[in-house]
């Protein structure tokens, strides 16, 4: 192969006649060839072995080894077999030519030859051999690339025949299976990896398409297909994850595999299976899940703590809410007692008073129930919610504060606002937080404009809720900082509220933000995903 690097094709001229050699040499010289000369068969063979000529012009009639013999030996040696042998002879009969071709000759030039013919034929054969050699070189490179890839790849790869017998296995397959490559070849894939007798390919009666789910293989029934089986026997590509495979030693491991049908001329001949052991992957996923759950848990705990804190801040308001009905109850009870002490109690009036007592006690318990609902733990999780109902409930809550802040809260829900999917307590917590901020901000600006809460459709999948105040608005640099932990514009604020709100809204699949409205104040908004049944598409 070393001579392949040279740019000039090599042509070996073989003739026992020095005169002929000279003529050939003169004919081909200065035409871009490296010319070699041999005046007998042995020399020709040894030059051919050393220099791998593209073309050999070979005289047939030579003493000792004649041209045919030389050709035979050239073709027998892999090192020289690919040279194009062009016979030269005065013998101009068909048999001689046929014999030459039958021995692997590429062409035939009759003596006395025409210079132009020699030049043309040599040129053609030199080009052909050059191309052939380049092609073979490329093939060898590709083959070795392929082998390298198959060897280097960490996934196990099997080539299976239609019965599931392993025809090819890469080193990774051997490592994963715990079985040498040589031992793998010829074993049945199903027996090896599923401890199952080789399934009969004719026993498949399931409809294609239903075979995708063969996960419940724990107790295989006769009708259940093993993984890869559909690919081998029906040509259906498969991809499954977390399938239990057995190693050669009988231990099991979770695997992910892809099976691709192998076809030749439209005929199913087997399958290529790419698989890997996903033990570590599953462990990482589990760890990730655990971490995610922990974060979720901590967020819920923080949210709960924050709700408790809010309730603490609103305690005076709630005491008022409960004291109102209690006061009324006490008064009514006294009235009822007085009635009873009169000489002629009016039963009608008395029962009216008692009914009023009952109504007020319900009222008190509603307040208590609302508080209990708000601080209960854990949060109930996502459900389908009416936006109007949720905001109205929040308004009742917020009015406890509105009383303290001399403000009011208006709720407006557009007619087309559909139900959303969210955790009611957490959304209420966010809404309450924003409304309380808005009330406080409005009050500190000395305004008595009510806080307005409005819900509308943002797009087919999203409802947006705006909380607008008429306070002093937000500082210039609020954009960067507002949702960061421990940032606050309030004197007594901790800077946790909005950060938590953002975290809670993101957990619902929504967004939270703010805008500067025309006129005084600020707009804080959040979005919630529309419940699937209500989506337009």
């Amino acid at each position: 192969m070393t001579d392949q690097a040279s740019t000039e094709p090599t042509v070996l001229l073989v003739d026992d006649n020095a005169q002929n050699l000279k003529v050939l040499y003169e004919t081909l010289k200065d035409r871009g060839y490296r010319l070699l000369i041999a005046n007998d068969g042995e020399k020709a063979l040894s030059l051919a072995q050393r220099h791998h000529p593209e073309v050999i012009l070979l005289d047939i009639m030579m003493p000792d080894l004649d041209g045919y013999q030389v050709c035979e030996r050239l073709k027998a040696d892999p090192a020289t077999a690919d040279s194009a042998v062009v016979f030269l002879s005065a013998l101009d009969d068909v048999d001689a030519k046929l014999r030459g071709f039958s021995l692997g000759g590429a062409d035939y030039i009759s003596k006395p030859f025409q210079a132009q013919e020699v030049i043309a034929r040599v040129g053609t054969h030199a080009r052909v051999i050059r191309l052939e050699r380049a092609l073979q070189q490329r093939n060898r490179e590709l083959e070795s690339d392929q082998t390298r890839i198959l060897n280097a790849i960490s996934e196990g790869i099997y080539g299976l025949d239609a019965e599931g017998n392993i025809a090819f296995a890469n080193p990774a397959a051997s490592v994963i299976s715990g079985c040498g490559v040589e031992e793998l070849i010829g074993q049945n894939f199903f027996e090896l990896h599923f401890r199952q007798p080789r399934p009969c390919s004719g026993a498949l009666w399931e409809e294609p398409g239903e075979q995708a789910d063969t996960r419940d293989r724990a107790e295989p029934t006769e009708s259940a297909l093993l993984p890869v089986q559909a690919t081998c026997s029906q040509g259906i590509a498969e991809h499954q994850r977390d399938v239990t495979l057995y190693r050669a030693d009988g231990t099991a491991f979770p695997a992910e595999y892809r099976a691709t049908p192998k076809k030749e001329d439209g005929q199913l001949t087997g399958a290529v299976v790419v698989f890997r052991d996903i033990t570590t992957e599953l462990e990482s996923e589990q760890a990730l899940d655990d971490a995610r759950n922990l974060v979720q848990e901590q967020r819920d705990q923080l949210a709960h703590a924050s709700r408790m804190a809010t309730m603490g801040e609103m305690a005076a308001g709630f005491a008022h809410e409960v004291n109102q009905p209690l006061t009324a109850i006490t008064n009514y009870a006294r009235v009822a007692l007085r009635m009873l002490r009169t000489d002629d109690p009016d039963p009608e009036l008395l029962s009216q008073t008692l009914e009023k007592i009952e109504a007020q006690s319900h009222r008190a318990s509603e307040v208590v129930k609302r508080i209990r609902g708000f601080v209960r733990k854990p949060a109930v999780g996502k459900e389908v919610l009416s936006v109007g109902g949720l905001l109205e409930e929040t308004r009742l809550f917020a009015e406890v504060d509105a009383r303290n802040n001399d403000g009011g809260v208006n709720v407006q829900v557009a007619d087309d606002v559909p139900d959303v999917v969210a955790d009611p307590i957490q959304v209420q917590q966010v809404a309450l937080n924003l409304i309380r901020n808005a009330l406080e901000s409005t009050r500190s600006a000395g305004s008595r404009e009510p806080v307005s809460v409005a819900a509308r459709m943002l797009d087919d999948h999203t409802v947006r809720i705006d909380v607008r105040d008429h306070g002093e608005g937000l500082p210039e640099d609020a954009e960067q900082k507002l949702f960061l932990p421990f940032f606050t514009t309030k004197q007594e604020g901790m800077g946790i509220g909005l950060t938590l709100c953002r975290s809670l809204i993101q957990a619902q699949g929504g967004e939270i933000g703010f805008e500067r409205p025309d006129g005084a104040g600020a707009v804080f908004y959040f979005t919630l995903p529309v419940a699937p049944a209500n989506r337009e598409n």
């Binding site: 005076a316 004291n323 509105a402 009383r403």
Partner: protein
């Protein structure tokens, strides 16, 4: 004056509290009038009202404290009992400084409320009685001639007859005649009593 009919004016935004309080006070024999807001009460207010106000300190719109200030500006004499919620004591203290007679925290015992209302009504009666007396003094002062009024002011200021005569450039005798007419019209023989009477109505008339 004491036979005037007193009314307990209840200003309370919570309907149930308002209704129950009205029934309670009526069953105790009180005349009661209720208002759902401070604005409603203010719209109905007149100087002739007698009795007391039971006023919720926290109300949407105009709150109890604000109503108190408005009534003070109109020289209302109606005693106010503030009804407060939990944690409103600082507010109640402010209200007391503004002249409220008392406050009571919700939920309250009937006895405590009625007691406070009784004492507020008593205070109202007293004030009204005093007011009657003072109005009588004012009426008497208004019967004095300008010269008599001038002489009285100087008497109250402690000027001797001689000094008054010189400063007004009249005879001492004339001063004595005016002086005895003032004492007669004001219905007293004692200069000390006259001084007390006139000072008690200082805020009602432009004297001294």
């Amino acid at each position: 004056m004491t036979d005037i009919q007193q009314t307990v004016y209840v200003v309370e935004d919570d309907e149930a509290v308002r209704d129950s309080l009205e029934l309670l006070l009526k069953s105790d024999g009180k005349q009661v009038k209720t208002y759902p807001s401070a604005t409603d009460f203010l719209g109905d207010y007149s100087e002739d009202m007698a009795g007391c106000i039971v006023l919720d300190i926290r109300m949407p719109g105009m709150d109890g404290m604000e109503l108190q200030k408005k009534l003070n500006a109109r020289h209302s004499l109606l005693p106010i009992i503030f009804v407060t919620g939990h944690g409103d004591v600082p507010l109640a203290v402010d209200a007391m400084k503004e002249g409220a007679v008392d406050f009571i925290q919700k939920p309250y015992r009937e006895e405590a409320l009625l007691e406070k209302i009784e004492s507020a009504l008593e205070q109202d009666r007293e004030q009204r009685k005093t007011l009657g007396e003072r109005q009588e003094i004012v009426r008497k002062i208004k019967t004095l001639t300008p010269r008599e009024t001038e002489i009285m002011e100087r008497m109250i200021a402690g000027q001797a007859n001689k000094v008054i005569a010189i400063e007004l450039d009249i005879s001492q005798r004339t001063v004595e005649i005016h002086r005895s007419r003032v004492m007669h019209k004001m219905g007293t023989h004692s200069l000390a009593h006259l001084v007390r009477m006139v000072l008690s109505v200082k805020d009602l008339i432009d004297v001294g």
